[in-house]
Amino acid sequence: MKRLILKFSACLCLILISFNAQSQNKRYTISGYIKEQGSGELLIGSSIFIPKTGDGAVTNNYGFYSITLPSDSFDIVFSMVGYEKKFFKIWLDKNITLNIEMSPSNNLSEVVIRDSAYHKISEDPNMSVIQIPVEQVKDIPAFMGEKDLLKVIQLMPGVQKGSEGNSGIYVRGGGPDQNLIILDDAPVYNAFHLFGFFSLFNGDALKSVELTKGGFPAHYGGRLSSVIDMSMKDGNKEEFHGEAGIGVIASRLLLEGPLKKNKSSFLISARRTYIDALIYPFLPANEKYGYFFYDLNAKVNYDFGQKNKIYLSGYFGKDKFYGSTHYADEQDKYGLKWGNSTATIRWNHLYNNKLFSNTSLIFSNYKFNTFEDYSYDGKKYSNRLYSGIRDYTIKHDFDYALHPDHFIKAGVIVQQHHFTPSGMTVKDENFPELNINKKTTYDALESGIYIEDNMRITNRWRANIGIRGSSFMVKKKQYYNIEPRISTSYMLQEDLSVKASYAVMNQYIHLLSTTGVGLPTDLWVPSTENVSPQHSEQVALGIAKDILPKNLTFTVEGYYKTSTKIIAYKEGASFLIIDDPLSNQEVDWQDNITSGTGWSYGAEVFLQRKRGKLTGWIGYTLSWTQLQFDELNFGKKYYARYDRRHDISVVAIYKISKKITLSGTWVYGTGNAITLPKAEYVIPQHQSGNSANDMPGIFLNMANDYGEKNSFRMAPYHRADIGIQFYKKLKRSERTFELSFYNLYNRHNPYFYYIGGSTENRKLKQVSLFPVLPSVSWTYKF
């Protein structure tokens, strides 16, 4: 491995040196920011293309681009899906700063893009990356009408959902904890509301979302399976705008506008459910319970000019279940709540027209707790059980547009994690000696340093080669790892390329999760002396084809991933076990887990249409995921619960006219692998000594014979959703009315099975969650 890394580093150096030798000709740089006309919103992923040389660049996460070319005259084309293209003629005899404003395209006609101006998937050396079309998220029919970004991501090939209605993401066989979900650089540790039925992200405040499933560039690290990188909108710098929406379960509001025109803007977006407020009057006076969640996104920014920009953004969200009973001498209040908060301060600095930097200070906190306050006859009892994770992060990244053939990214990140896997306080006035106040905490320091070069080796051959060093320190234990990353593409013919990638990933923090139910009680814990970091290696091979006359992109990818030292709860163990039944002692979470190996392999086919009247995609995944843990299934390999042989998603959005949009989705997935009892039997137990409780020496209890773990398959899951949106342009505003149907043909998809029927004739019963569910929503935009 070390030899490989040395060779790899040497290659990188050679390429850079050889490039420097060539670059002595007179060259100049065109650089600047690309913004949306009318709002001043910086555009991520806009394409800059020089037809004469075939060179190109793409704006970074902050809307900045830079391209260095020999002195000459050029045509230059700026383009982005959903925006009108811009053309310029330039005589390049000095460095040029060119800030561009692009206007959104409202043209619904079938514009056929025949040139190479748009960013083409076949030319991108990266693979296994999907840009999630944020605007389309609003058009895709959603459960209870609540638009949900993670559920749209679930519709992508290689990504599987957990169970019915759940927003959990399983990428290429990895667990939900192996996804790095970042919002404006801040990691979000629990991305779900209401046990996973909704995610935190409804798309209102988001500007761009990118999903990476493999071939990870070196600037990402810390998780094994995927990165979901989200950027919040900056807020309109020119005019005040707003959007309000009312749905079946929640309402939302977004406001944005300039604080100082063209210099500074703000954005605030909020959502809250109201079922608790609606049921409150119908509950008996002495018994109240309810549930709500809310989200709040906020961002402000200040543009100090071409060289410096500052952004401050944050997310705050909370879920709360609560109940209370009040009687004359007895009061009880109980519930559970959980929530994330993140805050990011970012400073963009342009050292010169080639070197861009971003410095971020990030805070992220996730906390879960249960509470009960009980009093009887004036004597009080209360308990709190809590867990959480809090991070402080500093991150410094450079983008260096060295040459059209070499775009360098480098950076460093240091994260201070504070874990509280479990904490408990109990106060009992009746039995003060039973009072408890204890918690387990860990402090850890995670760091990463990386460099990557997005290079054009020949006109046909491109590559992104990088290396990341990562380390983790917890108590006296230190882990260091080197992670080589490479992804490359070779153009076989125009618009058709073959791609390959290899990535090593390490994950130093783990989520202890009870399988089956997506609970907020899942605990984040660090690697420790006894628990090693998780490690994965993934290779992928694929082809990418742009079918420009039809506005289509087509990719086929195969992957093979091995993950080692992944962790799982031991059988029978869960977060609820506080005392060990075997030793009668408090359980250390480290004793409750077991580590093992996972193998995932499969193929993904993705056909996508991003432009035109009819947009959407078809995704198909064929995959296998197996696990092996010494302490599960008696050490034998077994299929993971979410091992899914076939997974199909079809998404179609059809803009019938400027006033009406019709959309539909259909999904199909092989059933989950589950463990069901085959037979039951009297378990032999042993007791020597005297007969106790007038029973003979050997006691008899019943147990189930499950055979092997996950040897049953649930029935396949399939479902169609459909939605229709009616737009109306008012004098200074716009309103949208949406009617949608979830589970259109009322498929009874199994949520779980249980054994029912009579004792003589037991039957396997299935419980399904959602029948056909209509929902309506209304949105007003001004």
Binding site: V517, N584, I683, Q687, A692, E708, P771
Partner: protein, 294 residues
């Protein structure tokens, strides 16, 4: 207590949420055909007066009928490699469950030997297992210290006894199962025994991996509830330390997750078995006992 509160609340919320929208019906998946299997339970020791192997049949869940519980058609042989004996089928007069029996005089268990059992029913069910009585030494209980705390009100008294038990672990790899019985005398002077309270753990399983060759101290707790008008006198404890083999340990470790695993959020627990074509366990142990009387 806290565990129960959380379990209760979470379960309540989940059930509430599910019942609001869910519907249930018969599952439409193909279930594999499952035959009954013989279930054998043999815990053998050179220290016992006899060998007893419990026998029953597993009851396939989805075959649409309840089990034919009759095990009278089963025969079981035990062998030590040279001698093979047929064991006698008996019925437990309290529970109605069946077991095979052979006395020490007919078939002694000798440390270091490998024993095999073979069971066969007239209906063609077969199961077999092997066990080597690798444990040659007793491990004696060195000390038992008892302390107690008392809570009482007008109606009842709750006394919690903590038994602190120590013993010296020998140099080789060892597993233990430690448990105790409370010894009572009723108003007529009869002696009777009670196992330790189920909810605060009847016994302790110990693996010496972190304390090999050292002194091991463990704790058992017993709560004695006495209600006014129902006198019974606790006169002492009998403490048992079983030096168990690895199979015994694996089996009980998996079993305890079942017995205590009432938690709806945990994965189903697979009970360990070393019975070929069957279920249950065939393993060995050595026993030490210490009796304490107040």
């Amino acid at each position: 207590m806290i565990k129960k509160h959380i379990t209760y609340h979470l379960s309540l919320i989940m059930i509430l949420a599910l019942t609001l929208t869910s519907c249930e019906r018969d599952a439409d998946i193909d279930l594999p055909h499952v035959e009954p299997m013989l279930v054998l339970g043999g815990f053998i020791s050179p220290d016992d007066d006899s060998v007893m192997i419990t026998i029953s049949k597993s009851d396939p869940i989805f075959d649409g009928k309840s089990i034919d519980a009759d095990v009278n058609d089963v025969t079981l042989n035990i062998s030590d490699g040279t001698t093979q004996k047929a064991m006698t089928l008996k019925e437990n007069r309290f529970s109605g469950n069946s077991y095979f029996y052979i006395s020490k005089s007919e078939f002694p268990i000798i440390p270091g030997k490998t024993y095999a059992i073979n069971a066969e029913s007239a209906g063609g069910l077969k199961a077999s297992a092997e066990c080597t009585t690798s444990l040659t030494e007793h491990v004696d209980i060195d000390s038992v210290i008892v302390d107690n705390t008392v809570h009482s009100d007008n109606y009842y008294t709750e006394t919690k006894y903590n038994l602190i038990i120590s013993f010296d672990d020998p140099a080789e790899k060892n597993y233990y199962r430690l448990y105790a019985q409370a010894v009572f005398r009723d108003s007529q002077g009869n002696i009777y025994y009670r196992n330790f309270n189920y909810d605060i753990h009847e016994y302790v399983l110990i693996d010496d991996k972190n304390s090999n060759g050292q002194r091991i101290t463990s704790k058992l707790s017993f709560i004695n509830y006495t209600t006014t008008g129902y006198p019974s006198e606790l006169i002492g404890f009998d403490v048992y330390l079983l030096n168990i083999d690895e199979e015994y340990h694996k089996y009980y470790k998996s079993l305890d997750r079942v017995v205590f695993g009432e938690d709806p959020f945990s994965e189903p627990t697979l009970v360990y078995t070393n019975i070929k074509n069957g279920l249950g366990i065939f393993c060995s142990f050595r026993e030490s006992k210490k009796s304490m009387r107040f």
